[in-house]
């Protein structure tokens, strides 16, 4: 049997279980690996609380189910509903701004009577989808008008979320939109111009920041100045990570984590627990999973068959990396404290469902490819 005929005879039913279930094995395995490691760390960080662990397990189950469901949606359908999803997201954000529920000093929640819902989570997916949709049929690299319009599509939801205020999510959404533009071929000259503009605009941003946000930046610059106040988080997390050493103090044996010295240890600072109890080795293992996920995501993007899926998949993979690097950079003291969880590991939040929905899109893109005649 010649290679040509065998290729021709290939169809979806013969491409194995991955195509039938619309799952991508490398991505799925890496995600399961991260989740497993995350549950272990969370069990220790949460003080061996079985209830906390089971709640996280349920959340993970929902997230994986969501991923599976989203993976069944064909990119074609996804593209068709994109503008509507985006428009709905903007409306919900408006609703939040007008009368959302305040929690922890910020208005992020919309009470839908069934579940409390953060529209900003939805926008994490809706923004890259929208920008990718907008550029889908354009001749790339995009012209100035298209860039301007794309910028507008990013800026509106970003500013609305920043107003809540939720700077971390706003930045993530901005970067997810930016990745679409960049992958679409944003001109280098323009990029340099935008970078210069951002640098010049920094003092203006500083002016519009909330006091607690400014405090975070100041604390980042010199945490030792206020060791019991705002600097405490960073100092304690550095002690936790540093004292972990190469191999760590052992599971459930991290004194910083177990004796309450480390604040927010099941949520934003859970990376420090991993660093303390599993050492550099544990951190390296986690990053192996993360790198597999990002590279697999980019590969899926590269193999994607049309502009929309390609840009969307690339943006989702890169945004995931931003997630990882911002959180770990914050916990190790490289970046200011912005309230972003460590993806797949930190306890709680709707963010884990959003993330997995994103991976559902990646899997959908990968497994809905048409067989191209050679």
């Amino acid at each position: 049997m010649s290679a040509v005929t065998s290729h021709r005879r290939e169809d979806a039913s013969q491409r194995g279980w991955q195509y039938r279930l619309h799952l991508d094995a490398p991505l799925l395995l890496a995600l399961i690996g991260v989740s497993g490691l995350g549950l272990m760390v969370l069990y220790s960080a949460g003080g061996e609380d079985a209830d906390l662990l089971s709640r996280q397990l349920i959340r993970l189950a929902i997230a994986f189910a969501t991923m599976f469901a989203v993976a069944q949606v064909s990119p074609r359908l996804l593209m068709r509903i994109t503008p509507w999803v985006f428009a709905a997201g903007i409306l919900l954000l408006l609703a939040v701004l007008m009368g959302g529920e305040a929690s922890g000093g910020a208005q992020r929640w919309l009470n839908l009577y069934v579940v409390r819902f953060q529209p900003s989570e939805m926008m994490k997916l809706a923004v890259p989808m929208m920008v990718a949709w907008f550029l889908a049929d354009a001749r790339l690299p995009p012209n100035r008008f298209q860039l301007l319009a794309g910028g507008f599509l990013i800026a509106v939801p970003m500013l609305m979320i920043a107003k809540q205020p939720d700077l971390g999510t706003a930045l993530l959404i901005a970067s997810s939109g930016f990745f679409v533009l960049f992958l679409a071929g944003l001109q280098w000259r323009l990029l340099a111009f935008l970078t210069a503009l951002a640098a010049a605009g920094a003092p203006i941003i500083w002016h519009f920041m909330h006091d607690y946000q400014r405090q975070r930046v100041l604390t980042f610059l010199s945490p030792e100045k206020d060791p019991l106040g705002t600097g405490y988080h960073i100092i304690q997390s550095k002690i936790a990570i540093g004292s972990g050493g190469l191999l760590g103090k052992g599971w459930l044996n991290g004194t910083q984590s177990q004796l309450d010295f480390l604040p927010e240890r099941s949520t934003d600072f859970i990376f420090a627990v991993l660093g303390e109890e599993f050492g550099l080795l544990g951190v390296a293992l986690l990053f192996t999973f993360y790198v597999i996920i990002v590279i697999r995501g980019v590969l899926i993007a590269v193999q994607a068959q049309d502009t929309y899926t390609r840009l969307l998949a690339g943006s989702l993979a890169m945004t995931f990396f931003v997630y990882v690097i911002v959180n770990t950079g914050m916990v190790t003291g490289l970046l200011p404290v912005v309230g972003l969880p460590l993806p797949m590991i930190s306890y709680g939040g709707t963010s884990i469902v959003t993330l997995m929905a994103g991976f559902g899109i990646l899997m959908s893109v990968q497994t809905h490819r048409k067989l191209l005649p050679t």
């Binding site: 071929g185 002690i239 004194t255 951190v283 690339g314």
Partner: protein, 616 residues
């Protein structure tokens, strides 16, 4: 959805996308490298540093207070002990309903408003897992009542600690002193690390003087704690070293007899063993109970003590500076003999008063009719003032001062209790320096009978009397006989401390003065003959009657006016038995009248209690 038709170059787009994706991946790789070098820095290069910080976080040092040394009298009778003290405390996190718990507790245990407000203050401040004291010093009935009802009060328990207690109450309080809570003032003087677990410190008396001996050495406990300070387990423990016990020279039985002998009088008595300097009894009347001071005396009770006209808090034995009156006559007589100013046979005529040449002012003798012609022995025996006016004037204040300074007058005896005052042995130098005035001859005259500027503490009088009994040997008084290291039980005796002995020119002079003091008690005309009549042992003594008002300069010469205003202090010094003295004593009874009437019988009672009940 109509869109403008654009020609897409799919291959070009694909290539551009792939390039961009590679650029982003390279950028990601760079960021990862930055992150990993950071982790390498934290976890490998600076690992030791962070391990140290993490240990410092985790391990806290807890001080364990040592048990304070006990204090016994010379016969091993306990004077200061550490008793279990029961405290009611509540751990908030174990209590569901604080208000109803407190309400129910009030039904079985008295809780004052002070207790309640302190509890509420601490409740707001302390972490919820820490036990907060509600009541201190529960009595046995309260402990019993609570124990029976304990099941009704989860989170409430009784904590047993140690609290200083003085079982004999006020007995010897001016020697023992007391401990009290460490206040800010005390904190400045103490070694803060050794006292990190200690709540009480000696405030006065032996408790203060021997603070470093009694306190012991603090123990340390390395504990693992959470960030909130909850102790999880003890990692290492260095036990504290208890303080040493003290054995005093005091005899509590004699002390009780001496205090009792004073009745309602205020005053002081010191009984020394002249051979060793042991303070056998040290009375300062009235006394007070030190026990309420240990854990903070109530405001009203303290004010009552402070406001008491009889000044029970005042340590008369060490700090009461009295005109010694005629009790200095044997010393001045000895000074006259030894310095050749007078002789055994020299006589003076006493008409009942004395005048300075060229002055009309009369210095009266206590006996208005006069003693007639008297020699030194008679003058001591009958306490003739005129003889000593004359002798003092002939001797001059300088020589009088210098000789009496060999005894314990004018300087501290060096007893091992803090707070002793030096009295005042006047001299022209002193007067010029302190008052900027010259010395007048009239002042020399009254110094000869222990009046004027002359001041002595009861302890100085007793110590000087002991020197007479010792034939000039000076032995410093002491109240601590031995220390006992806790645990080993070994006794470390405190050494005999001597001063420079008084040079003896002629032993007969000493014998003669002592003989005249024996006559004071045992001769038919001696001023203290009443206590000598039935004495089973022979006593050498000297009475004194001193005017408190002598302290005031402006009225001291006006004898007529003074006599009406003042009630005299009654004094007596003595040692016995004269053949081999085992006790030397000084007694001052404030406003007691004449020395022979009040002070001498008290001294006799004390000496009886020692000599008759403790045969040599």
């Amino acid at each position: 959805m109509p869109r403008p038709l654009t020609l897409k170059d799919h291959f070009l787009e694909y290539r551009m996308f792939t390039n961009r994706a590679i650029i982003l991946l390279v950028f990601c790789a760079m960021l990862l490298m930055v992150l990993f070098s950071r982790l390498l820095y934290l976890q490998v290069i600076e690992h030791e540093h962070y391990i140290t910080l993490s240990e410092d976080n985790r391990v806290k040092l807890q001080a364990i207070a040592p048990n304070r040394g006990l204090i016994y009298d010379r016969n091993g009778i306990l004077l200061a002990e550490n008793l279990p003290s029961f405290r009611l405390q509540i751990t908030p996190e174990q209590v569901d309903d604080m208000a109803s718990t407190l309400e129910a507790l009030e039904e079985i245990i008295h809780i004052s408003d002070v207790d309640r407000s302190r509890f509420e203050r601490l409740l707001a401040r302390k972490p919820r897992f820490e036990a907060i004291p509600l009541r201190f010093h529960l009595d046995d009935a309260e402990v019993a009542r609570f124990s029976v009802n304990r099941h009704r009060f989860p989170g409430v328990d009784i904590h047993a600690g140690l609290s200083r207690h003085y079982p004999l109450g006020s007995l010897g309080v001016h020697v023992l002193g007391y401990v009290g809570r460490i206040d800010e003032q005390a904190l400045k003087e103490l070694d803060t690390s050794n006292y990190s677990g200690t709540t009480h410190t000696g405030k006065i008396g032996i408790e203060k003087t021997y603070e470093d001996v009694l306190h012991g050495k603090v123990g340390v406990q390395h504990v693992e704690t959470t960030a909130q300070g909850r102790v999880l387990r003890v990692l290492r423990r260095t036990p504290p070293v208890p303080g040493n016990n003290l054995y005093l020279t005091l005899d509590s039985r004699l002390q009780a007899a001496a205090e009792q002998a004073f009745g309602d009088f205020s005053g002081s008595a010191i009984a020394l063993d002249p051979r060793t300097g042991d303070v056998l009894a040290m009375v300062s009347q009235p006394t007070y109970d030190p026990n309420p001071f240990v854990n903070g005396i109530e405001f009203d009770a303290y004010n009552a003590l402070r406001g008491d006209e009889k000044e029970p808090l005042f340590n008369r034995a060490l700090r009461g500076q009295y005109p010694p009156g005629s009790t200095v006559k044997p010393f001045i007589g000895l000074a006259g003999l030894e310095q050749g100013i007078t002789g055994s046979k020299s006589t003076t005529y006493c008409p009942g008063f004395y005048t300075l040449q060229g002055s009309s002012r009369k210095y009266r003798d206590w006996k208005r009719t006069g003693h007639g012609t008297v020699d030194l022995s008679t003058s001591i025996e009958q306490s003739c003032d005129v003889y000593f006016y004359d002798l003092a004037l002939s001797m001059g204040i300088e020589r009088l001062h210098d000789y009496l300074a060999h005894f314990s007058f004018g300087s501290r005896t060096g007893i091992d209790i803090v707070g002793e005052l030096p009295g005042l042995l006047p001299s022209p130098t002193w007067k010029r320096q302190r008052r900027g005035e010259p010395w007048f001859p009239g002042e020399t005259i009254i110094t000869g009978i222990g009046q004027g500027f002359f001041l002595a503490t009861p302890l100085q009088l007793a110590t000087s009397t002991a020197a007479l009994a010792n034939n000039g040997r000076i032995i410093r008084p002491k109240v601590v006989h031995a220390e006992q290291a806790a645990g080993s039980g070994d006794l470390l005796p405190h050494q005999l401390r001597t001063g420079e002995p008084i040079a003896i020119k002629n032993q007969h002079h000493w014998d003669e003065v002592v003989q005249s003091m024996i006559d004071v008690v045992h001769a038919p005309r001696g001023t203290a003959r009443r206590i000598g009549e039935d004495s089973p042992y022979r006593i050498a003594g000297k009475t004194g009657t001193a005017q408190v008002f002598g302290l005031k300069q402006e009225e001291k010469y006006d004898a007529e006016a003074i006599e009406e205003k003042l009630r005299d202090h009654s004094l007596f010094i003595a040692f016995a038995p004269v053949e081999e003295p085992r006790i030397a004593i000084a007694v001052i009874v404030e406003n007691g009248g004449s020395g022979s009437a009040v002070a001498a019988p008290i001294a006799r009672t004390i000496m009886d209690a020692w000599l008759v009940d403790n045969p040599a």
